[in-house]
């Protein structure tokens, strides 16, 4: 601040000195220094952040293709030597327990089944629900949105106790269907919230035009509104899929007793404590767990982040 004031006071008195001499240098010095420093700092920050975020993922892949004994001898090696490069870790983690592996194929099937089931059921509920909130008038319409948002913010550990007790009591704990139901209850609220915002941007006049032409409400929904809302529905489906695929707490509470029902997340977390299974084999398991999410994410990044922030700007 002081700099600016002196410079301004000097300026009318010595207009010629300003252009050539040290005054000009001093006047802009803080500005120049900051621009320089920040210009460099910016790249340092970007590189640092990239290392910080990506290194764990790189390390995951690296360890999954290294030989265990070589790893123990030389833990700091940042790329695998050709002589030790191996994919036998993947073979071991995928083959069934009967043939000496860890049975991750089975876990993948479970996770996939649960995640796809959750997506299908959530979307069925969410599309009809969101459409109703966006278009139909009924008593309590506003309160319902609030209820759904509250669900989103509620601690899942609070729900864990009663759901655990309930499903134990009726003897359904341990079934994949029960878990799907729990996931649906966790995701349907957000899904409705996101879809509702999108449905509201679809002009009602298009639907009215179709109604004039004699289309019923379900025909309109199926042939007009759904195709228009496809981007939002797709990003929603991905979002729900990722939540269900990554979920850990309820899978642990519900499925832990029977190994043949474990999800990939649960399997990895349960086997991680074991000393008999080499770390490199479990790393292959982590890669298998992470890869579908990373691929899905990069394939649809625009869609997903767009959807996330579009929901945010209103709230």
């Amino acid at each position: 601040m002081a700099d600016v004031v002196t410079a301004a006071a000097d300026a009318p008195a010595a207009p010629t000195a300003q252009r050539r001499g040290p005054t000009a240098g001093r006047r802009w010095s803080r500005y120049r220094v900051e621009v320089r420093v920040l210009g460099v700092l910016r790249w340092v920050v970007i590189v640092g952040l990239m290392l910080f975020t990506l290194f764990p993922f790189y390390y995951m892949v690296l360890l999954s293709v290294r030989d265990l004994s070589a790893l123990l001898q030389d833990p700091a090696r940042l790329w695998p030597a050709l002589s030790e490069f191996t994919v036998s870790t993947y073979r071991e983690v995928l083959t069934s327990t009967g043939s000496g592996g860890q049975g991750f194929l089975r876990f993948i099937a479970n996770s996939g089944l649960i995640a796809l089931g959750t997506v299908a059921v959530t979307l069925a509920f969410a599309i009809s629900g969101a459409y109703a909130i966006a278009r139909l008038r009924f008593p309590g319409r506003r309160n319902i949105s609030v209820l759904f948002l509250a669900v989103y913010l509620f601690p899942s550990i609070l729900l864990a106790v009663p759901l655990f007790v309930f499903f134990t009591r009726i003897g359904l704990r341990g079934s994949l269907a029960a878990l799907v139901l729990v996931y649906v209850s966790q995701t349907v609220a957000v899904a409705i919230y996101m879809l509702r915002n999108y449905f509201q941007t679809v002009p009602a006049s298009i639907e009215e035009a179709a109604a004039v032409d004699g289309a019923g409400r379900f025909t309109i929904l199926r042939r007009i509104t759904l195709p228009l809302a496809m981007p939002a529905i797709l990003s929603n489906a991905l979002f729900v899929f990722m939540i269900a695929w990554n979920e850990f707490l309820f899978a642990l509470l519900f499925l832990v007793e029977d190994r043949s029902r474990w999800t990939v997340s649960l399997g990895l977390s349960q086997l991680a404590g074991s000393i008999e299974i080499p770390t490199t084999v479990l790393m292959a398991g982590s890669v298998i767990l992470t890869l579908p999410i990373v691929v899905l994410f990069f394939a649809t990044e625009r869609l997903l982040t767009g959807g996330l922030t579009a929901g945010a700007e209103k709230g």
């Binding site: 900051e34 920050v45 990506l54 390390y59 009809s128 106790v161 209850s185 349907v188 977390s269 990373v294």
Partner: protein, 282 residues
């Protein structure tokens, strides 16, 4: 059309919450679950037990430290990232997508790889530390105080900063360029522009982020359970609830603690809403 959704949310979310309240006032053990009556026999024992145990209070303090530090660190780093990636450069889309990875990656895989990285025997961090940075001996990051708590906070920062980064980037894109240009013409330096022009515009977003991140970090179970299992001074309340439910089979005490957790959260959020961000949130 909405009724099926309402039914499922009520049955699987609202009723369980109410039921937690009931359970918290009952003396119910997991072993007797199939025979015990589900209503009746109310008692305050669970709350007496919870409030009189020192473990509960230290877990509450740990939860608060973890959520405040984790939230601040995640938003701080998110802000730095959003500012650094503001100007265009080749490959920015890729960099931006990469920075979001920790947030979408499966939590179990992320905690597992961190655990191995920090492993005292062959983890790369300790290897680099002892070889290149001159540490005397490997540090057991996840099993000693106070490094365990610091480590889980750093992990929380790594995992959640993308969320803050995403929202702040969206807000920065909406900031009008004319204001900054005017300030520049008046001789404002970049830090002055940030302090007086950008930061005031970002404040509402930061307030909402602080609220959301605080709620989620406060309730967080997965990260700490998977990283330390709640050991070495990192036991937060949600992990304690899980221990009571599964290891001890004490449903009543577990419910009571879950209930206290939610009440504390509700009070904190209300206070925040009232005083800190009355105009900015909502």
């Amino acid at each position: 059309m909405i009724s099926p959704t309402v039914v499922i949310v009520v049955v699987l979310v609202v009723l369980p919450i109410l039921w937690t309240v009931v359970l918290a006032f009952q003396d119910l053990r997991l072993i007797r679950l199939r025979t015990a009556g589900l209503l009746g026999d109310y008692t305050l024992d669970n709350f007496v037990q919870v409030f009189s145990s020192s473990g509960f209070w230290s877990a509450l303090v740990t939860t608060l430290v973890y959520s405040v530090c984790g939230t601040a660190a995640a938003i701080g780093l998110g802000l730095v990232a959003a500012l650094a990636l503001r100007g265009g450069f080749r490959g920015r889309t890729f960099v931006r997508a990469s920075l979001l990875l920790p947030y979408v990656a499966p939590i179990v895989a992320a905690t597992f790889v961190w655990g191995v990285m920090l492993n005292p025997q062959f983890g790369i961090v300790n290897e680099v530390g002892t070889r290149l940075l001159g540490w005397d001996e490997p540090i057991a990051f996840l099993s000693q105080r106070p490094t365990a708590l610091i480590t889980v906070i750093v992990f929380e920062m790594w995992r959640s900063f993308p969320f803050a980064f995403l929202f702040l980037t969206a807000r920065l894109q909406a900031a009008p360029a004319t204001l900054e240009e005017a300030a520049k013409v008046d001789g404002a330096t970049p830090t002055q522009v940030f302090r007086h022009i950008l930061l005031p515009q970002l404040m509402p977003t930061i307030a909402v982020l602080a609220l959301l991140r605080f709620i989620w970090t406060f309730n967080n179970f997965d990260d700490i359970f998977l990283l330390t299992g709640g050991g070495a001074g990192t036991q937060v309340i949600s992990v304690r609830v899980f221990d009571y439910l599964v290891s001890r089979g004490d449903i009543g005490a577990a419910s009571a603690q879950a209930l206290v957790l939610s009440t504390v959260l509700l009070v904190l959020v209300t206070v925040y809403y009232r005083f800190a961000a009355k105009d900015e949130v909502a």
